[in-house]
């Protein structure tokens, strides 16, 4: 029985991953910023599978409480074997680019808080010489596009951070898993018109579960995004800059 903390556990994607771990009998410590939502998520899982679930309300922007959160999770579950960091927001690019305080806020949620949480997890697992840190980044972090570059840059920051962290943690036997979903049909994208490229949260959640079990370095989810992003990254900048993407 493993002990897993999920930050942003009310996310449509993370819920699906949580269910799969619960099915395996793993114990869960679920964190998100709304206790009512966490209760709904917990009840959903417990009505299906018999396991132990703790819920904890916290805003990722409370940076000075990050360490306390880990202490609490470790104390409640009696240690940790894996952490999944899943929270995030998808800002409206146009509105955000015009408001400096919004840019900073989005970076704080999607990049700074993630790096902070992952760093605390890393220090803990490095001592234990085992563990898994999985983080939901995004294909949007692979290349900046005018329609989405604030979110994209925050995710790009996370991706680069995780590359370095993986390099460091490999020596201690800790896996660092970068998850790069493409477009997923969740509350985050509810306002967007849907195309066949949208994946279901269940598919992505299962991909995360598998990537965490195997300790894979980078998981594009669904897998075809690896090819799409490969092509997008290959476009020379002098052409790319003129494109409307």
């Amino acid at each position: 029985m493993k002990k897993i903390m999920i930050f942003g556990a009310a996310s449509a994607i993370a819920q699906e991953t949580a269910k799969l771990f619960a099915r395996d009998g793993e114990n869960l410590f679920l964190v998100d910023m709304n206790i009512g939502r966490l209760e709904a998520v917990r009840d959903d899982i417990l009505s299906r599978f018999k396991t132990k679930i703790e819920i904890y309300e916290m805003n990722a922007l409370d940076f000075d409480k990050h360490q306390e959160l880990f202490d609490k999770a470790i104390q409640t579950l009696g240690g940790l074997d894996a952490v999944l960091i899943a929270h995030g927001t998808l800002p409206d690019q146009i509105k955000t680019q015009e408001a400096q305080e919004m840019i900073i806020r989005e970076f704080n949620i999607n990049c700074v808080s993630v790096i902070s949480l992952a760093s605390i997890a890393a220090n803990y697992f490095e001592k234990k010489k085992e563990g898994c840190i999985a983080v939901i980044s995004s294909v949007a972090g692979d290349r900046g596009r005018q329609s989405n570059y604030i979110y994209g840059a925050a995710k790009g920051g996370v991706t680069t951070f995780l590359q370095g962290l993986r390099n460091r943690m490999t020596h201690s036997g800790v896996s660092v898993v970068t998850i790069k979903p493409g477009m997923v049909d969740t509350p985050m994208t509810a306002h967007l018109p849907k195309s066949p490229l949208f994946a279901k949260p269940g598919v992505v959640g299962k991909g995360i579960y598998k990537a965490m079990l195997s300790g894979k370095a980078v998981a594009y989810l669904p897998g075809y995004w690896r090819l799409i992003m490969f092509i997008i990254k290959m476009i020379p900048e002098w052409i790319f800059k003129k494109m409307k993407l």
């Binding site: 009512g36 939502r37 709904a40 998520v41 009840d43 959903d44 009505s47 299906r48 509350p187 509810a190 018109p193 849907k194």
Partner: protein
């Protein structure tokens, strides 16, 4: 989804809402009194006509209320959010030995939709409708009240909401009974019948020993073959009695585009081939619940095969008495009309009473016939069927209806004036506005 995606299954009529509002969390339902237009819950849009549509109004999309809440294994009592599909319940529970007490012919519907239309299935003759197995639900009203409705609390709203067409408030969760099942498989028998009388003979015998029965009728057949078809019956397959096959690994296919594939030629060919496909008079098989209950679900969006103009399903029930003549008369009309139906289903309802105030099922014979929408010609023809149903004391099923007259509805469901008292003032539907129009006489 975009507004244009909020269609009904028959894709007729094409009524667009002004706006759609999605709910995600059962404890964060918005103030339902604040919307500028009338509202109506919408789940998976598997109702055929306009009962899930709200032209120029607002739809509250409940698909994302998709969480389980609790399961009491001792009593088989399951509670889940309103938008949970029967498919996801089966996926989870069948491997654990539980089945739905009642299921309609598609598993891609929500539990709240099953309540709002008080749906029936192949076991109506012994288990009644879905509402017979509902113990409790929560209803959010535009006044802001959250009411627990059951046989003990808010009983009038409990009865009005079962079969209440989504008009009495927003259901956030439903508690209902599941039943134990010995496997995911069914011991099924198919028996050919060559006319209406034979159907009733086989039916009388089969209903005594089979939990599930339904028949397909070849409505292109006429003359001495009028009313021929195939009678399907089955029971849960016990592993001690039957060899249970390995789980099928079927992938869902999806009908890719709008195309009028279904026309009188293809319908005639299909019906003939289907009837003749079965060589022996009786065939026995052990089949998975998917082909047993949901043969149509194997092709997603099969409704698009009728083309852009859509189709109508005509489902009625007529009381026992002169039911044989009525069914014969209807079949004569259909086969003579040239508006042949791809799929015609025949079944008898039992006498188990649902709490539902406005529920459709009642003792008698029910028949469902699909028609491609061909404008006035189709509508006129269905009016001629109405008169047969009316005269034999039958009623039409609102969940499938897109066109019955206000006069007929008000005669079929005289309790509608009583029901109206329980409608939430902020709620309405295209169906309801249509069938409650003032009648001039």
């Amino acid at each position: 989804m975009i507004i244009g995606d909020y269609e009904s299954w028959g894709r007729y009529p094409k009524y667009k809402p002004n706006d759609v509002f999605s709910v995600y969390w059962r404890n964060e339902i918005p103030d339902l009194g604040k919307f500028p237009n009338k509202i109506l819950p919408y789940a998976w849009g598997k109702s055929y006509g306009d009962s899930c549509l709200n032209e120029n109004g607002i739809l509250i999309d409940t698909k994302n209320l998709s969480k389980f809440i609790s399961f009491d294994e001792e009593n088989g009592l399951f509670r889940c959010e309103a938008g949970v599909t029967l498919a996801s319940i089966l996926d989870f529970f069948v491997p654990r030995g539980w089945f739905l007490s009642v299921t309609p012919g598609t598993k891609f519907i929500s539990v709240a939709g099953a309540v709002a239309n008080d749906v029936h299935g192949k076991n109506h003759h012994n288990s009644g409708s879905f509402g017979c197995h509902v113990t409790k639900f929560e209803l959010v009203r535009s006044s802001g009240e959250r009411l627990i409705c059951s046989n003990e609390e808010n009983t009038e709203l409990f009865k009005a909401t079962i079969g209440g067409l989504g008009l009495t408030g927003l259901i956030t969760w439903v508690e209902f009974k599941l039943k134990p099942c010995p496997s995911a498989f069914f011991a099924m028998e198919s028996e050919k019948f060559y006319n209406v009388d034979e159907f009733f003979d086989i039916n009388d015998k089969s209903e005594k020993t089979f939990d599930y029965t339904v028949s397909w009728v070849d409505c292109t057949a006429s003359g001495s073959s009028l009313g021929r078809g195939i009678y399907n019956r089955g029971n849960h397959a016990h592993p001690e009695e039957y060899e249970i096959p390995k789980l099928p690994n079927q992938k869902l296919k999806s009908f890719p585009f709008d195309a009028a594939f279904i026309n009188s030629f293809s319908v005639n060919v299909f019906n003939m081939l289907y009837f003749n496909k079965q060589i022996n008079r009786i065939e026995k098989n052990v089949v998975h619940y998917d082909p047993f209950f949901y043969p149509l679900d194997a092709v997603l969006h099969w409704n698009k095969a009728y083309g852009k103009q859509g189709f109508l399903q005509y489902q009625f029930v007529v009381p026992f008495g002169n039911e044989k003549d009525t069914i014969r008369e209807i079949l004569k009309q259909v086969s003579g009309s040239g508006m042949s139906s791809f799929l015609t289903v025949l079944k008898t309802f039992g006498d188990m009473k649902s709490p539902g105030m406005l529920s459709f099922p009642r003792p008698g014979v029910t028949m469902a016939i699909d028609f491609r929408m061909n404008g006035d010609k189709t509508l006129k023809f269905l009016e001629s069927l109405d008169s047969i149903v009316r005269e034999s004391g039958g009623v039409i099923y609102p969940a499938k209806d897109a066109r019955m007259s206000a006069e007929d509805f008000q005669k079929f469901y005289p309790q509608w004036t009583e029901f109206e008292k329980y409608i939430d003032p902020a709620f309405s539907s295209s169906f309801w506005r249509r069938v409650t129009k003032k009648i001039n006489n």
